[in-house]
Structures are given as structure tokens and as C-alpha cells.
């Protein structure tokens, strides 16, 4: 047996490895980098949207003035809105004003954008929050509580939820409207009160749209919850928690659910995105003065100031949401924190 060289076994002098200094400054740098990234994202969103929205000046003129508009009127319109300038100039002009808090007027020139968009944003946010507040807990609670695959309750729920998910919003919306507003008269048919009514009327007005939206949200969140919880219910640590005699709800909520919550966070984020920008059908059916309708009309009309204001707002919400989701995910999965990949 030959022995290879004995390598130094000398004791190191001190605990002095060459290592990076990380501190408050580093964290501040990381934060500002994220912030810059977010701003850049929003800038890009506005840039892309602006060009995607691009219509010819004549078309915009006709959209606003009606199809009878004459050549002279169209030219005057284009000139008064600055539509005769190169696109990039128009964009930079918009941006320059926007960042200074001047959101401009709508394409028709009849409304300043800010008072148009902000209330709609508020209504939509309210509707979204109200919907999330009841539907997500229900979906999660049901998903977690009966996450035992193959039981009769699970099977029944599975079918019900899948059918609910497959029903388009207009079917659900009209059904709840006819049942709860026309027949039972519990709630108003139209939810205009969200924008126009007294506080009591407003509360009532939120019920039906929120119910309709929730019927779409619940099955989705429920499915993701169920799938993830089932997955982590079979993990050894859940088994160990059971064996420690912990109560069922503690095992499920503290041990299984926390690890299962990671995909859920993103599912909720996606639903928020949908609730903030994509509930046009529900807004139409229930006459909710919300962002979706406003955005749709703005896009249809080529009203770039209004559309961009909305898109930038939504963009800001989503970017924040995205960052937040990442933070929550890291919180829920401690292994992601500063570890090597």
C-alpha cells in the first residue's frame, strides 16, 4: 500500500475566510435594482401598448366624430390632438406629461383621463378585493378540508367545481341576476349604484357581480389548492406531524398547506390580474362602472391616453403583485433564501 503525500494538517490561524461583505448597503442596492426593474417593466408595457394601440389619425377621427366627419374636420381633429406627429414623438410627449402627473384627456377631448380612470380603478379594485375576500378563503378552505382523494365528498365537489368552471360568466351572471334580482328582488339588477348610489346601495350593488366572479375564481383556486395539498399531504413531514399526534387542522394548515401554498400564491396572483383587468363581461352584464369596460372602450376607440393610463396602473399593480408573490414564495419555501442553486 503506497501512501500519497500527506497534505498540510496545520490548523488554520483564524476564522478568516475571504468573504463578501453584505449589509444594509447591499440590501438597499438589491431593492433599488428591483425597483428599477419594475419601472423599466412598466415603461416597456406602456411603450408596447402605445404601438399596439396605434390607429390611423383618420380612423381615430371617425371613431370620435362619427363617420360623417369631413376631411377638414378630420384634419382639424388630427391637428388638435397632435396625431399628425410621428408616433414616437406622440409617445414621448405622452410619457413626458404622464410622469409629471398630467394624464391628458381622452381622445375625444371631452374628459380629463384622471377623473375618468381613477374612480373606475377604485370600483374595480373594490370589486376585486370583495370577491377575493370571500372566494379565496372559501376555495382554499374547501380545497384543504376535503383534500382526501377519492372520497364521495371529493368526487362530488370535483364534478360540481368542474362544471362551475366550465360555465361562462354570462350564463352565471344572468342566472344569478334572474334568480336573485328579478325573481327574489334581493339585489338590484344593475350595479350602477357602485358608482352613483348611496353607501348602502353600493354594498348591495357589489353582491351579484362579486358572486358571479367568485363562481369563476373558486373552482380555479380550489383545484390548485386541492392538487398541491394532496401532494404535500403525502409528504413524509406530514406523516411525521400526524405521528406527533397533532390535531388534524394543525397538520393540514401548518404543515401540509404552507408547503402547498407556493403554486397557490401564483394562482391567486393570476386571479387578481384577471379580476383587475379582465372582467368585461361581468361589468357589462351588471353595468359596473369598472376598469375593464373603460379599457375595452378605450382600446376599441384607440383612445391611447385613457388606455395607457389604465394599462400603466394595471402594470404597476401586477409588477408589485409579482414581486410580492416572489417574496411570499420565498417566505413559504425557506430553502430559496440565499441558497445556492
Amino acid at each position: 500500500m503506497s501512501v500519497s503525500t500527506l497534505v498540510s494538517v496545520a490548523e488554520p490561524q483564524a476564522d478568516e475566510p475571504p468573504r463578501t461583505v453584505r449589509g444594509r448597503a447591499a440590501r438597499a442596492r438589491a431593492l433599488s435594482r428591483q425597483l428599477a426593474m419594475a419601472l423599466l417593466t412598466i415603461l416597456l408595457i406602456s411603450f408596447i401598448s402605445f404601438f399596439a394601440l396605434n390607429h390611423s389619425a383618420d380612423q381615430l377621427g371617425k371613431n370620435v366624430l362619427g363617420r360623417q366627419a369631413s376631411r377638414a374636420q378630420l384634419d382639424a381633429f388630427a391637428a388638435s390632438r397632435g396625431l399628425d406627429r410621428p408616433l414616437i414623438v406622440q409617445y414621448l410627449d405622452w410619457l413626458w406629461h404622464f410622469v409629471r402627473g398630467d394624464w391628458g384627456t381622452n381622445l375625444a377631448g371631452t374628459q380629463p383621463v384622471k377623473p375618468l380612470v381613477l374612480p373606475a380603478f377604485a370600483h374595480t379594485s373594490e370589486l376585486a378585493v370583495i370577491t377575493l375576500v370571500w372566494s379565496v378563503p372559501i376555495a382554499i378552505a374547501v380545497g384543504v378540508a376535503v383534500a382526501r382523494r377519492g372520497g364521495p365528498i371529493d368526487r362530488g365537489l370535483f364534478v360540481v367545481m368542474t362544471v362551475l368552471a366550465a360555465l361562462p360568466e354570462f350564463v352565471v351572471g344572468l342566472t344569478v341576476m334572474i334568480a336573485l334580482a328579478v325573481q327574489l328582488r334581493w339585489f338590484p339588477v344593475a350595479s350602477n349604484a357602485i358608482g352613483l348610489g348611496t353607501p348602502a346601495e353600493q354594498v348591495k350593488a357589489f353582491v351579484l357581480p362579486s358572486l358571479t366572479l367568485g363562481v369563476g375564481v373558486v373552482p380555479y383556486i380550489w383545484r390548485i389548492t386541492r392538487a398541491s395539498v394532496l401532494e404535500s399531504l403525502s409528504a413524509p413531514y406530514t406523516r411525521a406531524a400526524v405521528l406527533r399526534g397533532l390535531r388534524r387542522h394543525r397538520v393540514i394548515w401548518r404543515h401540509a398547506f404552507r408547503s402547498a401554498a407556493v403554486p397557490l400564491v401564483n394562482a391567486i396572483a393570476i386571479n387578481i390580474i384577471y379580476l383587475m383587468g379582465g372582467v368585461i363581461i361581468v361589468e357589462n352584464v351588471f353595468a359596473v362602472p369598472g376598469l375593464g369596460r373603460l379599457l375595452l372602450a378605450a382600446i376599441a376607440q384607440g383612445d391611447s391616453h385613457t388606455a395607457l393610463a389604465i394599462i400603466v396602473l394595471l402594470g404597476a399593480v401586477f409588477v408589485i403583485l409579482g414581486l410580492l408573490a416572489d417574496v411570499v414564495v420565498t417566505y413559504l419555501n425557506p430553502r430559496l433564501r440565499g441558497s445556492a442553486r
Binding site: 419594475a38 423599466l40 417593466t41 408596447i48 401598448s49 399596439a52 382526501r148 382523494r149 377519492g150 370535483f158 364534478v159 368542474t162 362544471v163 368552471a165 366550465a166 360555465l167 361562462p168 360568466e169 354570462f170 350564463v171 344572468l174 373552482p219 380555479y220 383545484r223 390548485i224 386541492r226 392538487a227 398541491s228 394532496l230 401532494e231 399531504l233 403525502s234 409528504a235 406530514t238 406523516r239 400526524v242 388534524r248 401540509a256 408547503s259 407556493v262 403554486p263 397557490l264 401564483n266 394562482a267 393570476i270 390580474i273 383587468g277 379582465g278 382600446i299 388606455a307 394599462i311 394595471l314 402594470g315 401586477f318 409588477v319 409579482g322 414564495v329 419555501n333 430559496l336 442553486r341
Partner: protein, 298 residues
Amino acid sequence: MSVDGMMQAGDARSRVVRGLAFLRPVTHTWMGRIGLFLVTLMLVVIVFGPALAPHPPNQLNVGLPLTRPGNGLVLGTDNLGRDVLSRLLTGGRMVLLVPIAAVTLATLTGGLVGMVAAYVGGLFDAIVARVFDILLTLPPLLIALAVIAGFGSSVLVLLLTVAVVFAPQIGRVTRGATAAVVTADYVQAARARGERRITIAVREIAPNIMAPVVSDLALRVTYGVIFVASLNFLGLGAQPPSSDWGLSIANSLGYVQVQPFASLAPVVGVAALSVGLNLIADSMMRYLSNDSVKDSML
């Protein structure tokens, strides 16, 4: 008989079972069987429907416009007096084709990118997350308009539009699910072994994030159909007088209170297809994850 011999015999049998029963992942639960039945039924409708339709789908005034079922018209007529049943039987093709194809495409792209991003981490991940944010923020309608403006309108464009809208959503779910498993040692093991990133994503990570991703997927086909229907309003995809389900839903929506069957018939068709797909997906998930083995007795 030696113990080993016994084992080998059992092994051989189970291999035969494995070879034959390619449908077993679906049919091993009764929910899966119902799903298979629904999807098969819808496939039959889609393939043989045109032959079974009692009237040409575009024939006007088969009955008075907007008559409810009766007088030999099983589902009544639509606003142009066309037979709703015949239109139901002939209009399912695109519904099967486009959303399923688009969702598949979106999963392959968005899902993969999300997965790889979460796995690779760092700058790439940050960029992908922001790109997803951008795509999620851009209103689907705007994307659709931009795509039509750029590429005109065809089935392929429709498919791409749906895929572009869905990809970031799927990507986000996938990215999240991946983040939960990237830290596992088997991923490290694969890295040490020198697997390519894509292989790690597909072989090591993908099977372990199936649960949320497949759940998301099966529902998304449903949303896809509805989305396709709304894109028809923009002149993207099916054009009137096509009896396409999505188009029919969109067009008959206006008078759903007068003749509900004209819009509800395709809705039920879509729902049946989607419920079927969901049941199949769940049954397969259950088979693949084999979790009765790991059940924690809760």
C-alpha cells in the same frame, strides 16, 4: 419454488398488464371513465355530427326565427331561423382544435420558460418574471388586435393569439410550482450528473410539478374556448355564418333570454368537453402520482 422465481413470474405478469393497459391511467377510476365517455361523446359529435345533422347548418328559416324547442326541432332555431341542433352537430371542430392546441402550445412554451426560469434563477429568472408581467398586463384584446394587425386573421393566428395570452399565465403557475421543487436534492443530483438544463426541467422537475400545472391546464382549456368565442367578435377565427360553437355562443348571447338553447347548447357542448378533459386529467394525475402509496392517513 424459489422466492426469486416467484418474484420473477409476478414481474412478468405485471409487465404484460402494463403493456396492454395504456388506458388504465384514465379508466382506473369511475370519474376517469365518465370523463373518457364525455370526451369520446364530444369527439363523436365533432367527427360524425355533420353526417347526423337533420338540416344543413346554414339553411335559413328551418323554423321561425327564435323558436324554442318543439315541432320536431329538438333545440329550436336561432335568430336566423337556423336549426340549433344541426349547428350544434356541425360546429364543434374548432372548439376541439384551437383551444386544446393553443393551451398545449402555451404550456410547452410558457410552462417550459417558467420552469427553466425558476430553475436557473438569477437574472434570467428576473427577466422572465418581468416579461410575464408585461404579457399579463397587456390586455388580451390589445394583444389580439396587435396580432391581427400584424398577421391578418386565420386559424393559425387565432391559435397563436390564445397561446400568447395564456403562456404567461401558465408560466407563472409553473414558475411558482418549480420554485417549490428546485431545491430538492434530486435536482442537484441531476445537475451534478451533468444533465442539460432543459433535461432537468423536463425530466426531473416537470413530473413533480404536474399536480398544480395539470389542474391549471385542464381548466384553461375551458377558458380557452370562451376566449376564442370572444375573439370571434373581432373577426378573428371563425367567420359567420360558420356554426362554430364559440361563434354561436358569441352571436346567440344577445338573445339568450328569448331562445336560450341557441347559446346554451354550445355552452353545454363546451362544458361537457371541458368537464370530460378535467376528469381525465385528474384520473391520470391520480394514477401517475400513485399517492395511495403515500397517503398520510389524514
